[in-house]
Symmetry: C2
Subunit: 388 residues, 2 copies
Amino acid sequence: MASTTRSAPQDKAFSFNILDRDPSSQARRCKLATPHGTIETPAFMPVGTIGTMKGVTPEQLSATQTQIMLCNTYHLQLRPTADVVSHFGGLHSFIGWDKPILTDSGGYQVFSLGRINKISDKGVAFQSHIDGARLWLDAESATEIQNKLGADIIMCFDQCPPLPCDRETIEVAVERTVRWADRCRNAHRREDQWLFGIVQGGLDIDMRRSCLDRLVEIGFDGYAVGGLSVGESHEEMVTILEALESSLPAEKPRYLMGVGMPRDLYASVRLGIDMFDCVLPTRNGRNAYAFTAKGPLKMRNNTHMLSEAPLEDGCDCYTCNNFTRGYIRHLFMAGEMLGPTLTSIHNLRFFQRLMSRMRDLIQTGELETILTEFPVCNAGATGTLDDD
Amino acid sequence: MASTTRSAPQDKAFSFNILDRDPSSQARRCKLATPHGTIETPAFMPVGTIGTMKGVTPEQLSATQTQIMLCNTYHLQLRPTADVVSHFGGLHSFIGWDKPILTDSGGYQVFSLGRINKISDKGVAFQSHIDGARLWLDAESATEIQNKLGADIIMCFDQCPPLPCDRETIEVAVERTVRWADRCRNAHRREDQWLFGIVQGGLDIDMRRSCLDRLVEIGFDGYAVGGLSVGESHEEMVTILEALESSLPAEKPRYLMGVGMPRDLYASVRLGIDMFDCVLPTRNGRNAYAFTAKGPLKMRNNTHMLSEAPLEDGCDCYTCNNFTRGYIRHLFMAGEMLGPTLTSIHNLRFFQRLMSRMRDLIQTGELETILTEFPVCNAGATGTLDDD
């Protein structure tokens, strides 16, 4: 096992600095500099799975003040393959997004989407969910693929067990995740990419802590908490983050994978998390679900038929500046592509406004004010505004 | 029957002026002023059927330098209804497009999409193609609906027979079309909308001429040629336009409905047509068909997998400025919405560049040069560049 003294040469563009700390929680405001620009944290990364934010152009995405997007290694390796992306000079130039990008390792998708044929300590044999093609992914190939894709931040190949899950399965997954992380660390070849380790361990606090300690011993540029947002309750998620907070290296970025709803974001920011990713803004946007500070709207609801209000009063996005709820409802009722596009643009901007406001409130030491400004961040927030 | 002396009060914003005439054809360059802005002709109107250019925002549409868009009365009356649109202050504010709009009358769609229950001189009883609802449309209601929608230019309710068609059916359709036009003229209530008559008559030159003469006798703000682009050959279309050219009032706008492919546009511009509409840029764009001056590309073709070229060299559209053929092919292969959006944006800009260049060449008396700059305008142009 490697020691903490091992350190690879690194692009000087990278740095991570803590700017402010919230006096009443573990929340912190930081700056993460990468070769493609600086990210202010806490940051929300929307997900452009196959190299596109579904229904939204890079120009429209940039206008939502998204600082960094996530792309999925599993999907990109199936189509168009990392070799094709590399031919175009990497993800940034291929997809037309010159700001930071993070790629996941494919671990989560192999286990959630692929048809697994065999898992061993060596790696995973699986079949494509698209055409059944027989494929192989392991620590070395997941890292090599991410080196070819060329994101600013890449992730270790991990084993993400579903929840609930028996203790033995979790133990095996944690053991593999740590060993694979070490192999990823050794396989990583690019100075202009930061590599993050991923903490697994299900809802078992001891296993979570052990996994984290061993990852810290190997030494990574940042640490992610994986294996959450897979069916557990809000409270269970909070319990795990509380247990890990003091052990997560304070001077490194902390990333909670696959989260999430506004109340999850707020609770996790309070527990010191710096980065998040989730498909919610676009997936829900495509399904006529619009986020607002007071709660969601279902845009197919009859209530909106004659409404001249924007999706959200005071929102500065393209959608709210130009279109009424009535028009957006019409688009969804008529099955028009513009409905998903406009609602996704609003939702993306909503998440960026929420994070931006949390950063401001951390700076002024008033983070709890977010509960007044964005009531949807309350742990008990449920239901929709239009009672659909 | 009304006489040509009848004239309704009119918004002073409207005017139509011929600026240049091509020395070697009937082509002309004109300016058509409307309450929502001035259109330079020959002009191509893309079609935003249900109140949206499919997959494209008004901002993106405007960036293609589209001057005027067409919306379909039939579709809008089914969803969300003219009353709802009127509640929002009319189409311009409802859909967020502050430039000129033209609405068709619904006649074409009733006959092509609706399930006809009964046609009589009074009007048409039909069923919605969406939910089978029993509906009625006639000259008065089609005009009233268009008055409520509030487009800058509206169309008479006509009967458009399919081709080929027997003489008696065409005679009946022409007779109804003329009588209904007169009723539309009487029913029209808004000074800030111009009303165009529609010439029917199938491929029968005598009936076409007779229909036009009777419409001119009634007197309209512009004249459209309908019932073409419904299956006839390029040469048949040209024959009809040649026969009508000298009888179409020179001082009024001339609009060829539903056309079309670049070669049809060029041939029709030479025959004095000022305005066109067609779904081709967006419908073909959604199906991975990209227009270029030299011929179309099928973007799913393997040829494009590693191509770093834009859809069209020299094109100034958002798509060509930012994305490669390889990326666009990837989007179509992965079924991503952005593929249709980016290709539609390029196609819309292609049609606007083609029309703009034709206007420039009419001004300098060199219209035929378009055949060198846009070889796709040659009557014999067929096939695709990628041999798909």
